[in-house]
Amino acid sequence: MRWALTATVLAFLAVFLLLPLVVVFSEAFANGVGPYLTAIQDPDAIAALTLTLTAAAIAVPANLVFGICASWAIAKFDFRGKNLLLTLIDLPFAVSPVISGMIFVLMFGRQGLLGPWVAAHDIKVVFAVPGIVLATIFVSFPFVARELIPVMEASGTEEEEAARVLGAGGFQTFLRVTLPNIKWGLLYGVILCNARAMGEFGAVSVVSGKIRGLTNTLPLHIEILYNEYSFQAAFAVASLLALLALVTLVLKAIVERRVHQQLGVQEGVREVERVPAA
């Protein structure tokens, strides 16, 4: 029974998880190393990589600051409407990526609510970089907050209170007492947030307009290459993102153990809350 079950599970995972991973790299190198290097050194691919990194470099810190503020307010204080606030923070997960992009078109597009105002001030949001950044922030919005809230709740408020009573300032308390307690949870949230920010396709696809070299992110560049039947080039670019995914998984596995240790040491582990995000 035991071996039959294990074998079934391994076969299922081999077909559904391992095979796709193998295929990405084997297709990327289907014509050898030369064409692979040509594909990833293409100016459009590099422009797409730059834009993807830029969007993540704005979205991740912004959502990090939000995550720290939200988890401090929610975990360290009692107030009415806490559950409502938690549900609202989760909203971006419940919305289809396509709708996540579409709302920014409805807001800033030509027929949008702020469309005329934006046009009058000569700012381009939709079909331009600001729209891509906004959509990226939206889809990666809950990750850091969601990881930090349980960690901060588990560490309680006694240590911070002691620091205050002993005369530490507010910021000093956070830096010296809170931060060491939550650092692994923080890192975990940032890793997940970054993976989503760099990989987002649907939302960004709606707002980008897909102008080569200008408003193309890596995932969008993959789509263009694929639809032009440049399969090997598409997979070469895709292999970069697959590599990012593998790095994410390794970091995640390492940090996850630390988070568990931290949670486990501080209080009974609240495992039920650690339902997957995304």
């Binding site: 029974m1 294990t6 299922f12 559904f16 991973l21 295929v23 990405v24 600051v65 939000f66 503020c69 939200a70 401090w72 360290k76 204080f77 009692d78 549900t87 923070i89 971006p92 919305v95 289809s96 990526p97 396509v98 709708i99 709302i103 920014f104 078109v105 409805l106 807001m107 609510l113 922030i137 939206f138 408020t157 911070e160 205050r164 009573v165 507010g170 308390t173 396709f201 649907g202 709606v206 890596l218 995932p219 969008l220 993959i222 694929y226 399969f231 598409a234 895709a238 993102l241 697959a242 990012l244 995914a245 998984l249 596995a253 495992e271 039920v272 650690r274 339902v275 997957p276 995304a278």
Partner: protein, 273 residues
């Protein structure tokens, strides 16, 4: 209450939290109901009852249910094996479960299409038996199985970990067969988390776009999912039509969100008692 306020910064952090939430999430999302309210009811009804739109809803929902069901069955097996059995490479496989979260959907999309296309690694042998996967509803389901798998496994794992082996041993020593133990003790205990995992996988699948759009073939009435139809309408600058379809999807998503929250409360209550 008063004691807690020893800590500083509530006003500042709460203020920023609410401000940022409004600017990034609530105000943009409110565009959808605002836009929908500015249109006429008749136009809305006409759009959402258009046969092509109905076909897309039906496809999105049925493929998502099928994928979530497959994930529920295999997910519980995967979670069980990963928690209860020791075998070489278990930790690596456990880490690999999150691949669908970490792998960008566009990469998953083109890869699955290549594997299941008529000349692909799996598509070719299946094609010999006359089974077509890519560019059919079956292909859409496969893509949705891929992206939904971690939800069921990750929801069940901690619950299986908390399941006390002694209870099973007690039942076995009292003469219960393995099957009876599974049916009467293990499954009832896992049930709420199992349902939660199913609901999460379903909710994600209904809105999914990137991994599906390549493998689906996008034929109107047959393999066109709702999110794609929204994009098509947006590209034709039919904002009212796109909004109508999106509002229906949003209502579905929000009811799923409420269901999942209720399921999770149920699940954690059962674990605590």
């Amino acid at each position: 209450m008063a004691r807690r306020r020893v800590l500083p910064g509530f006003g500042l952090t709460m203020g920023f939290t609410v401000l940022y939430l409004c600017l990034i999430v609530l105000i943009p999302l409110s565009m959808l109901p605002l836009r929908a309210a500015s249109g006429s009811w008749d136009a809305f009804w006409q759009t959402v009852t258009d046969p092509r739109v109905i076909a897309s809803y039906r496809l999105s929902i049925s493929a998502s249910v099928a994928a979530a069901a497959v994930n529920a069955i295999f997910g519980i097996l995967v979670a069980w094996v990963l928690v209860r059995y020791e075998f070489p490479g278990r930790r690596i496989i456990d880490a690999l479960i999150d691949l669908p979260f970490a792998l960008p959907t566009a990469v998953a999309g083109i890869t699955l299409t290549t594997i299941y296309a008529p000349n692909g690694w799996i598509g070719k042998p299946l094609d010999a038996y006359g089974i077509k996967v890519a560019f059919t509803p079956l292909g859409i389901t496969i893509a949705l199985i891929f992206i939904g798998l971690p939800f069921v496994v990750r929801t069940l794992q901690p619950v299986i970990e908390s399941l006390d082996v002694e209870i099973e041993e007690a039942a076995t020593s009292l003469g219960a067969s393995r099957w009876t133990v599974t049916r009467k003790i293990i499954l009832p205990y896992l049930y709420p988390a199992w349902l939660t995992g199913f609901a999460l996988a379903f909710a994600r699948a209904v809105g999914e776009y990137g991994s599906v759009v390549f493998i689906s073939g996008n034929m109107p009435m047959r393999t066109e999912i709702s999110p794609l139809l929204i994009i098509t309408k947006l590209e034709q600058f039919d904002y009212a039509g796109a909004t109508s379809i999106a509002v229906v999807m949003l209502v579905l998503s929000f009811s799923m969100l409420l269901t999942i929250n209720a399921l999770q409360r149920w699940s954690s209550r059962r674990l605590l008692t």
